[in-house]
């Protein structure tokens, strides 16, 4: 093959061509009844792959994440926390507490492939008649996805509310993270929500595969806690075999030593030299090649001994302190060990590699203008994932969905609006358009 691998791969995945390529889930419709992060992110990930996602919110204020977020950071009338899990969705304002609202949802569910909710177990069935057992009556092929903290049943699921932080705590994740003797380590994002949403999307698509094969729908659930339990690698094996809890090891990888996060002149780097060859390279970079023969460090088993690992960390720390992050990385590449910057949001914003891959996704949105957010993570050569627009005000797509999909007349919609069953944004932050909105652009039919 004449062309270099990387030239070929760049052509195969060329992001500038992505909007001309088909979408993996085109034709699949997702009805997103969920709120905050866990459910909406699941729907969002399916939307990135091309599913049409209809997001149902309460008329007026809508999803509470529109106003909750980074201590009052609003941008163009919306909390910045609302956008990352709500791309390319069709926003409708429907009151699900109202019988006529429930009827609308039932009609939409009959025309959808997937329904997603994250309410307390049994809520959609008991309060709204929109549970799996009811909706599958109008759509036997339906895939119904329910995300919760503790799951749909079991002792902890009965009457125990949960947030991501609780999932981190009870799953064991908190106990195995961070530094001995310090405050518990609270992971800096809502990891239980986001990782759980990713697993939920995978489970949903497994159900879709089964439906492709057989025509059968089913109920799929993800429990936040169970997602995190699943992601703790050898923790459970170790406890079962030794009767011990695996220890916290700070920033030292428990398997590959030396490793850690070290201060440089201009920020932090992660460094790992996990094999004998990498360690030799590291000692050369440190200007102390004799360390590779030092009995404390020559063998991997010796390097892993606490006192020896600490000594190596001190050497690496001293070496990093006088250098820039870039110098450390160049040395790592030259001498064959691993190093990378601890990236901040700003580092990512300015990173040419991430932008070239559209993992940092800059777009010109019709309503919000120039916006930069995280782009879809997986890159698919034939059916690239993509963002088409960002979040919209409450009820922005009412006409598009109620007329265009359900075929309601203007009079019927007006009547529903009059009775508060259907509605759009209230005059409140989070829900309403930006101040510079000219009153145009909402898709009318």
């Amino acid at each position: 093959m004449g062309e270099s691998y990387f030239d070929w791969a760049a052509r195969l995945f060329d992001p500038s061509l992505l909007h001309g390529k088909p979408e993996a889930l085109q034709g699949i419709r997702v009805l997103d009844l969920s709120v905050i992060i866990f459910g909406p992110a699941t729907a969002d990930f399916l939307g990135e792959l091309g599913a049409q996602v209809i997001k149902v919110e309460m008329p007026g204020g809508g999803d509470v994440t529109r106003i909750l977020g980074h201590a009052g950071c609003f941008w163009k009338n919306v909390s910045v926390a609302f956008f990352p899990q709500n791309h390319s969705k069709y926003h409708i304002g429907v009151d699900m507490h109202h019988a006529d609202g429930q009827a609308l949802i039932r009609k939409l569910a009959a025309r959808s492939d997937i329904v997603i909710e994250n309410f307390k177990p049994g809520t959609t069935e008991a309060k709204w008649g929109l549970g799996y057992r009811q909706l599958r009556e109008v759509n036997p092929r339906l895939i119904y996805v329910a995300n919760t903290g503790f799951g749909q049943w079991g002792p902890l699921a009965e009457g125990r509310a949960s947030y991501d932080g609780l999932a981190q705590a009870v799953s064991g994740l908190t106990a195995i993270s961070g530094f001995e003797g310090a405050l518990p380590t609270k992971v800096g994002n809502y990891l239980g929500d986001w990782f759980g949403a990713c697993l939920a999307a995978m489970g949903t698509l497994a159900a879709l595969r089964w439906r492709d094969r057989t025509g059968e729908g089913q109920f799929v659930e993800m429990a936040q806690c169970e997602g995190l339990v699943r992601a703790l690698d050898w923790t459970w094996l170790y406890a079962g075999l030794t009767g011990r809890d695996r220890p916290k090891t700070g920033n030292r990888d428990p398997v590959f030593v030396p490793s850690g996060i070290f201060r440089c002149r201009d920020g932090y780097v992660a460094v790992v030299a996990g094999t004998d060859g990498e360690f030799q390279g590291l000692t050369t970079a440190l200007g102390q090649p004799a360390l590779a023969e030092d009995p404390r460090f020559r063998m991997a088993a010796a390097r892993r001994e606490r006192a020896h690992a600490d000594a190596l960390d001190a050497l690496i720390g001293a070496w990093c302190r006088g250098r820039s992050r870039e110098e450390v990385q160049v040395a790592a590449r030259t001498h064959g060990f691993a190093a990378a910057p601890v990236m901040s949001g700003r580092d990512q914003y300015e990173d040419a590699h991430l932008r070239a891959r559209r993992s940092v996704w800059e777009s010109d949105d019709a309503l919000y203008g120039r916006i930069v957010d995280y782009g879809p993570a997986p890159k698919l050569s034939a059916t690239p994932a993509r963002h088409k627009w960002v979040g919209r005000p409450v009820g922005w797509h009412n006409a598009h969905v109620l007329k265009g999909i359900l075929g309601l007349t203007g009079a019927e919609i007006a009547d529903l609006e009059r009775r508060g069953v259907v509605g759009r944004w209230g005059d409140q932050r989070g829900a309403k358009p930006p101040d510079d909105w000219q009153g145009t652009g909402a898709p009318e039919l």
């Binding site: 977020g69 926390a81 961070g178 518990p184 800096g188 698509l205 459970w236 990512q348």
Partner: protein, 440 residues
């Protein structure tokens, strides 16, 4: 009569009945070519849990990942990290560096649905068995390539060893996690408080994020293949997989020029939402709406706190000075009770409002909680090769095609005879010949 939802769904998801139910992916053949790559190892297990037939192809000397694990516990000489995720596949050996091995892979790939690899980008291509070589043989093939930086872009050709710690650093999650430095820290490198640094998640979370994203993309690609007959290549960076979970971190910089920082046990969006000391360790407690915060104050016997000007509204409570003071108020109360005592108070509270509360469990405490065993979240497997193993079971609950764990793992080449007989018709003589030349 309709049984309550909880009873119905418990029966529909009964872990004891899982083996009677069909499997969503059991018509798929997956080739796990990952070597020394945890994300590929985990992804292959996910697909196997959902029913795919997975064949791992590792070097005749065994995957170096078999040595990965804590230093003080192994099973049959195998590292616990490898064994934790080695489930549900057949184990064959195949030397992909030799032309004959590459030829055998080509034949397998011609009939496979999915191929998973985690070599340095370009490596498998250099062996003549990359996507552009295999796609003409099998246009329906879905080829999944996993790496730190991805297959294209300015850093793609960088090469070099890859690790979860590196991916966590690049993802931006480490920057957001851990104790912030403060005015009392004498030096920047936190000698007094070694924890006042960006902090890694304790497990290899980037590998799980990578596997989850690759699973989503693979299944999406399989759906597309049903419509189009078309396979494709999938590129997942472990760093980007975790980065996608970082919420508004980028947008905050775009909108406000603000770099999101690590906040220790505080939360940037809501308060009360934090860890507090209890008599027997630590606990998580949250109540951030007015009603739920009111419930916390009521349970603490401090109703007047809801009228404190620092804590009156949701927004007030999230201001940095106020949330720190508020946490102090809760902590000075919580430290007097065990986690169980506080949980009892929380569950007994009549409302209005709901408090979210629970202990920071060590793994042994989580394992002691009956709920997870009832749910089928953990399993104690008696394996003929590896003995008694405590394992995390598949995470999804599905009423029609629930995932399941079949085998926890096997030594390298354990299934050579079976795999090479089934797919190539090779008998013992042929295998001996291949073995003698190091092909298997």
């Amino acid at each position: 009569m309709n049984p309550r939802w909880a009873e119905w769904i418990r029966h529909a998801e009964d872990p004891a009945r899982v083996s009677e139910m069909p499997e969503a992916l059991d018509d798929l053949l997956v080739l796990d070519c990952s070597v020394g790559h945890y994300g590929g190892h985990v992804l292959s297990g996910f697909l196997g849990e959902l029913g795919a037939e997975v064949i791992k192809l590792e070097p005749p000397g065994g995957d170096p990942a078999r040595r990965w694990g804590p230093p003080d516990a192994t099973v049959h000489g195998e590292g616990l990290a490898f064994l934790a995720e080695g489930r549900n596949r057949h184990y064959a050996t195949l030397d992909l560096t030799q032309p004959e091995g590459q030829g055998l892979l080509r034949q397998l790939a011609a009939r496979a649905d999915v191929l998973v690899e985690g070599f340095p980008p370009g490596q498998q291509d250099a062996w003549g068995i990359g996507f552009r070589h295999l796609q003409p043989l099998n246009p329906r093939l879905i080829y999944v390539a996993l790496s730190t930086h991805g297959q294209f872009g300015p850093r793609a050709a960088r090469g070099g060893p890859e690790y979860d710690l590196i991916d966590q650093a690049l993802s931006g999650l480490a920057f957001l996690t851990g104790e912030p430095t403060d005015a009392t820290d004498a030096t920047d490198d936190g000698h007094d408080r070694p924890e006042a640094v960006p902090t890694r998640v304790g497990s290899w979370i980037s590998a799980y994020a990578q596997a989850a994203w690759a699973g989503v993309a693979t299944l999406g690609a399989l759906h597309w293949r049903e419509q189009s007959g078309q396979g494709q290549m999938i590129d997942v960076s472990g760093a980007e997989a975790l980065m996608r979970y970082l919420e508004y971190t980028l947008l905050l910089y775009h909108a406000a020029g603000e770099v999101r920082q690590r906040l220790g046990v505080m939360d940037g969006a809501v308060s009360v939402y934090t860890f507090v000391p209890v008599k027997d360790g630590w606990a998580f407690i949250a109540g951030y709406t007015d009603a739920n915060f009111g419930a916390i104050c009521r349970i603490m016997g401090r109703p007047e706190l809801t009228r404190d000007s620092r804590f009156r509204t949701t927004l007030d409570r999230t201001q940095p000075e106020n949330r720190a003071a508020l946490r102090d108020e809760v902590a000075k109360w919580s430290v007097n009770y065990t986690a169980s005592e506080i949980l009892a108070k929380v569950l007994a509270d009549p409302g209005p409002g709901v408090v979210v509360f629970g202990p920071v469990n060590g793994p042994s405490q989580t394992l002691a909680e009956g709920h997870w065993w009832e749910r089928g979240c953990f399993g104690r497997v008696s394996d003929p090769v590896y003995g008694l193993l405590t394992l995390a079971m598949p995470a999804w609950r599905m009423t029609r095609t629930p995932p399941r764990l079949k085998t926890p793992g096997r030594p390298a080449g354990y299934h050579n005879a079976d795999v090479y007989a089934r797919y190539f018709g090779f008998g013992p003589d042929r295998l001996a010949d291949l073995r003698s030349r190091g092909i298997i």
